[in-house]
């Protein structure tokens, strides 16, 4: 039979208040006090027990420690029941999720590393079956291939070639994994994978932002002022675009749906746009007709494109400053 708890000694329930403890202690201490019960060893023992119980329960800190199971009814430290050694010991098996885990779960662990474990390797089997190592490559592809997708050759080591399928809309630095194209496996283990880091070569006039393509398009003065229909390159071939009358350098036009067609697992298909920024090329050095026209035209059309910068036009002096 286990020892009585301090609560039981005082005839109380575990949730008893401090006042109830005090009251119970005073009553029992009086009842079993050795001076009032001379020559009665049983009463003396009860008195000791009552005093011991009160020592613990009247001290809030000791009482809390007792309630937490940290000390026993005599106030002595109880050994801590650290759970881990029990959990990992033989008895802990019953707390394993979904009953006993077995060798199949070890396979699951190996599968986490991407290539499945040697399923029927068995216990004490002499052969070591391990997947081969992954091999790393880098591949630089054309801007257009990155945009529209396609195949690109990759030189593996020792004169071996691999045709890599590039998905449309691939990003700079994206890594493609080709299963089974890495190093050979050990024993009956499968080969590793080839990991190909893709870099996109810059294009002479296209620039990419996400799925959108940006292009600076040179136009002549006449095309900008009078408007025109011109051919514009896109990643999927040239298209005809209308330049509105009165366009200027920096005018931005959008070719809807002429960006990158992007398809990714778990994402909606999206298609970007191509943005065309116009750049007016005057190209009139030595054109006497235009110069003559502009001399007359400027007299009746004073304008200051630098107005926003705060300075006014300074004909003559500007030349001098630039030259000095």
């Amino acid at each position: 039979m286990a020892a009585q708890t301090p609560y039981e000694v005082l005839g109380l329930k575990p949730g008893a208040s401090a006042a109830e403890i005090r009251k119970a202690y005073r009553k029992l201490a009086k009842e079993f006090h050795p001076d009032l019960n001379p020559g009665k060893p049983a009463a003396e023992a009860r008195f000791k027990a009552v005093t011991g119980a009160n020592d613990i329960l009247s001290d809030p800190e000791k009482r809390a420690r007792y309630d937490r199971g940290e000390i026993d009814e005599t106030g002595a430290e109880r050994p801590r029941y650290s759970y881990r050694p029990h959990a990992e010991g033989a008895q802990g098996r019953k707390y394993q999720p979904q009953g006993e885990m077995d060798i199949g779960d070890l396979d699951d662990l190996f599968a986490m590393f991407g290539r499945g474990g040697g399923r029927h390797s068995g216990r004490g089997d002499a052969g070591l079956n391990m997947p081969g190592p992954d091999r790393q490559f880098t591949l630089t592809i054309d801007f257009a291939v990155a945009a529209t997708g396609g195949k690109q050759r990759l030189a593996l080591s020792h004169g071996e070639w691999l045709d890599v399928t590039i998905p449309p809309g691939i990003d700079e630095g994206q890594v493609l994994r080709l299963r089974g194209k890495g190093g050979a496996g050990f024993g009956s283990g499968p080969p590793g994978d080839a990991l190909i880091e893709v870099h996109i070569a810059p294009h002479p006039f296209f620039r990419r932002e996400g799925n959108d393509i940006h292009l600076e398009l040179p136009v002549s003065l006449a095309e900008a002022v009078l408007g025109a229909r011109v051919a514009v390159p896109t990643v999927s071939g040239p298209v005809t675009m209308t330049i509105p009358k009165g366009s200027d350098t920096g005018t931005r036009l959008r070719l809807r749906g002429k960006g990158i067609h992007h398809r990714r697992h778990g994402h909606q298909e999206t298609t970007g746009d191509q943005y065309v920024s116009l750049k007016v090329m005057i190209g009139a050095s030595g054109d006497a007709d235009l110069a003559t026209f502009l001399e007359q035209w400027a007299k009746t059309h004073p304008s200051d494109p630098r107005h926003a910068m705060g300075g006014g036009p300074h004909p003559g002096s500007a030349d001098k400053e630039a030259a000095s």
């Binding site: 039981e8 937490r68 199971g69 029941y81 008895q91 019953k94 394993q96 999720p97 885990m101 779960d105």
Partner: protein, 106 residues
């Protein structure tokens, strides 16, 4: 190995109805013999663990199921890990070396 009453007396924080609920929730799995619960060391340690978690982290019943579920998975995984390590340990030295070499640096 102790009975239900002794367990409750041992942890003043624990009351009988609560322990009953824990057993129904399968948080604690005592042995049932002659329609009496018998708590082994592991069960006592687990009761103490649950009490600790509840007190120190103010975890309610719903979150406790999650916490215990994760802990059990972790210990189960450690057990599997140990089996794997034992299997590796029983290999000849050259194979052990090869595996050590193949382990990527963490």
């Amino acid at each position: 190995m102790i009975g239900r009453d002794e367990l409750i007396r041992r942890f003043a924080e624990l009351d009988g109805a609560e322990l009953q609920r824990w057993i129904e929730n399968r948080w604690v799995l005592p042995e049932l013999a002659d329609s009496q619960f018998r708590f082994h060391e592991v069960d006592i340690a687990r009761v103490e663990l649950i009490l600790d978690i509840r007190r120190e982290f103010a975890v309610d019943d719903e979150a406790m199921s999650l916490v215990l579920g994760l802990l059990d998975q972790l210990y189960s995984l450690r057990r599997q890990m140990r089996r794997l390590c034992d299997a590796l340990e029983s290999q000849p030295p050259d194979i052990r070396d090869a595996i050590r070499q193949a382990l990527p640096k963490a």
